[in-house]
Each structure stands twice: as structure tokens, then as C-alpha cells.
């Protein structure tokens, strides 16, 4: 599989996404496997009105912790309002911090 793979969040979580455990399971099932297979993975938040830190951290931070900053050239976020953008940027930062902490340990 090559090219762009788009993953819709609203299809599974609806307009309010707030369950961190569900987000983590979703990431393992629907995002991780495609990172090695596709040139670009698009995480599409179209239709998601609100989310919280728990959800976005569980969905995004682990991607950075496990794959490092290089994964950012592979993933894009689509359909995010300004609040979601803040949560995503923060989750990315958290993931990078955790990776650094892991490497220093």
C-alpha cells in the first residue's frame, strides 16, 4: 500500500472525542500499521467538534514517543478547529518529551 491513507476520527468517536483508552486502542488498530505502509497518513478530525487532552494525548503522543520527530513528515491532521490544533501541538510536544526522557533513562 502506498500513497495517502486517510483515517476519519468522527466515524468512530462522533462529534465529541474524550475517551483516552479508546483513542489508544484506535491508534494501535488504525494508525500504527499504516505508518510503514503509506507515504502519508492523514488523521481527519472533520466532524469532531470537541476533544479533551486525554483523547488527543492518547491518540498522538505515543506516535511521537515511539517513532520520533521523523514521523511528523508522514502524518498530517485535517479538519481541526483552533482548539483541536492546540491539543494536537501539545500532544506532539508531550510525545517528543517522553521520547527524550526515555532515551536519557
Amino acid at each position: 500500500m502506498t500513497g495517502i491513507h486517510t483515517i476519519g476520527i468522527a466515524d468512530d468517536f462522533g462529534s465529541v472525542a474524550a475517551d483516552g483508552a479508546a483513542a489508544l486502542a484506535f491508534r494501535h488498530r488504525n494508525i500504527d500499521p499504516y505508518l510503514a505502509l503509506c507515504e502519508r497518513v492523514v488523521i481527519d478530525f472533520t466532524g469532531v467538534r470537541s476533544a479533551n487532552s486525554s483523547f488527543v494525548n492518547a491518540l498522538v503522543a505515543g506516535l511521537l514517543e515511539e517513532n520520533g520527530e521523523a514521523v511528523l513528515s508522514k502524518i498530517a491532521f485535517k479538519g481541526c478547529n483552533r482548539t483541536l490544533q492546540v491539543l494536537i501541538e501539545s500532544a506532539i510536544h508531550l510525545g517528543l518529551c517522553k521520547r527524550q526522557e526515555r532515551q536519557c533513562a
Binding site: 468517536f13 462522533g14 462529534s15 465529541v16 472525542a17 474524550a18 475517551d19 483516552g20 483508552a21 483513542a23 489508544l24 492523514v42 467538534r49 470537541s50 479533551n52 487532552s53 486525554s54 483523547f55 494525548n57 492518547a58 503522543a61 505515543g62 520527530e69 511528523l72 502524518i75 498530517a76 491532521f77 485535517k78 479538519g79 481541526c80 478547529n81 483552533r82 482548539t83 490544533q85 492546540v86 491539543l87 494536537i88 501541538e89 501539545s90 506532539i92 510536544h93 508531550l94 517528543l96
Partner: protein, 311 residues
Amino acid sequence: MPRLALPSRVTGIHLVSLFAHAQESDDRSPIEIDFSHLEHVTPVFLAAVPATIERWKAGGRPVVLSGLEACKITSYLQRMDFLDRCGVHRAEDFQRRSASGRFVPVRPVEQPVEELAKEVAACFAPGGEDFEHANAGFFDFLVYAVTEMGNNILQHSCGRGFAAVQSSRADGMVRLALADNGCGILKSFQRVELPWSMGMSHEAAILKAMEPRVSCKSGEPNEGVGLTILAHVVSQMKGWLMVASGSGMVQVTPRCEKEAMALPEGGSYEGTLVALTVRRSSAAQFGEYLHNAKIDKGLLPVAQRHATFWT
């Protein structure tokens, strides 16, 4: 039978002192709660009393609610579904009208917590589902607060929780409370043997829970930032936040001060109680407050942007 006579007005701090008094008796002896003088309650009462009654009953302690005939707010307590949640079912002699914009009755905190959040947000921030609407900020704030506090109950408390929300015409404030009958914050740390939690006071444990990246279940998916960010956002909104757990309490005041104290009169709340009061109009800039909170807590770099966003 020990009798807990409720005064005419019960606020959050009074309530935990009352409970402490009730807990002095034998844990399995029946207890009577007398409502006859009760005239005014807040969402803290509406959420914490059903949680506590459920705890007592689960522990084999019978609970009797008395004085409801004389109580001036019995119909109100029925309309808020409070009595049902306490296991008291009475015929209603009033017609239920829409609660929109005024209150959300007492609800159990259960999965999916998003449904509770949407109900609260739709009640107090109608139209806010549209990101460009004037109520969008308050909608986002309520969803954030209810889901983060609700998730804490569901994931960490080992108990059941209840939520209640009400607005006041008099002062334009919205009051939200979630209370659970679980193990409390300090015990949740000690249960997983976090070394720094041993010998810690309840109020120190609450303060610790407000620090970023502190969780009793650290690692994915728990990053331990929910309460941290919520407290910071509430302080930017010039609102008031209270967390009570065990014998400790922490308040974030409208002056952005964090005050930790032992509950007065030897008071104690078994479980965790979180209550906040905010002005409806104060959350218009929620996105900005969230951004500031993430920066101030070291969870977001000031200028560096990493993500690629597509429209």
C-alpha cells in the same frame, strides 16, 4: 439511629463536615438524614449526597431520608432527580418543564462520558456546537471539564460518581459538581505504591494531582494533565474550583490563588469531590486559555510548531 439534621443552607464545606459527623457512628448502624429544615443546596450537595448514600448502602448501612413532607424544596429535589438517585421514589405533584439553560439533573457518571458532556454543553451553551457561534467557547469548556473530571472518576476512583449542574439567574454563574464514592486521591496514589505518596497529607496529594503529568496510572493513555489544565483554565476565567478528598481540600480562587487546607471541623469526604463555579460569559476565549495553560505548564512550546494541518 444516628440522625443527620441538615441545616437550611448546605454548601460544599458544610456538607463534608456533616458527613464526617455521620461517619463517627458505627459504620453499619442505620442513619437518618433529616431534610425538614433544608431550603437551599448547591450542585455539590446534589452530587455528593447520592454518592455517599450509595457508599453507605453498599457497605450494609441502611439510610433513611426523613422530613421530606416538611422540606420546602422537596419538589425541586425531585425535579433534579436527586431523590431518585438517593433511592427515594415519590409521586410528583408538579409538571416537569424544560431544564434548558437552567440545570442538568443529577446524572450518574458512566460511559460514554461524552454523552453527559454533550447534555451539559447543550443545556448551558446552546448553539455552541457551531465553532463560530458566540457560545462556542463555553461549549468547549463544559465538554472539557465534564469529560476530564468524568474520566478521572471512571478510570481512577474505583467507585461510582454523580454529576449535577445548575445556573443562577441572580449572579449569572454556572455551578458544576462531580462527586464519587471511590478511594480518594491519596489512596489512589498509594494503591499503586508511588513512593512520594507515602506519609503524604490529603491536601498535599490533591496539589500533587494538579501538577502536570502526575497520575496514579501513569503512561498511556493516562498522561495526568486533565485536572492540571482544567484548574489553570478556570483560574484564567476568574472562576472558582474546589477539590476535596479525604480530609483535604484545595481551592483555586478567582484571584488565581491555590489554597490548600485540611477540611474544617475534622471534616472528611471519602472519595473525591470536584466543584467549579464560572461565569457563562468568561469562556469566550477558551481556546486561548487552553493554549496559555498548556504553555504555562510546560506542555506546549511557546513558538515552535510541529504539526502539519490540512483544511
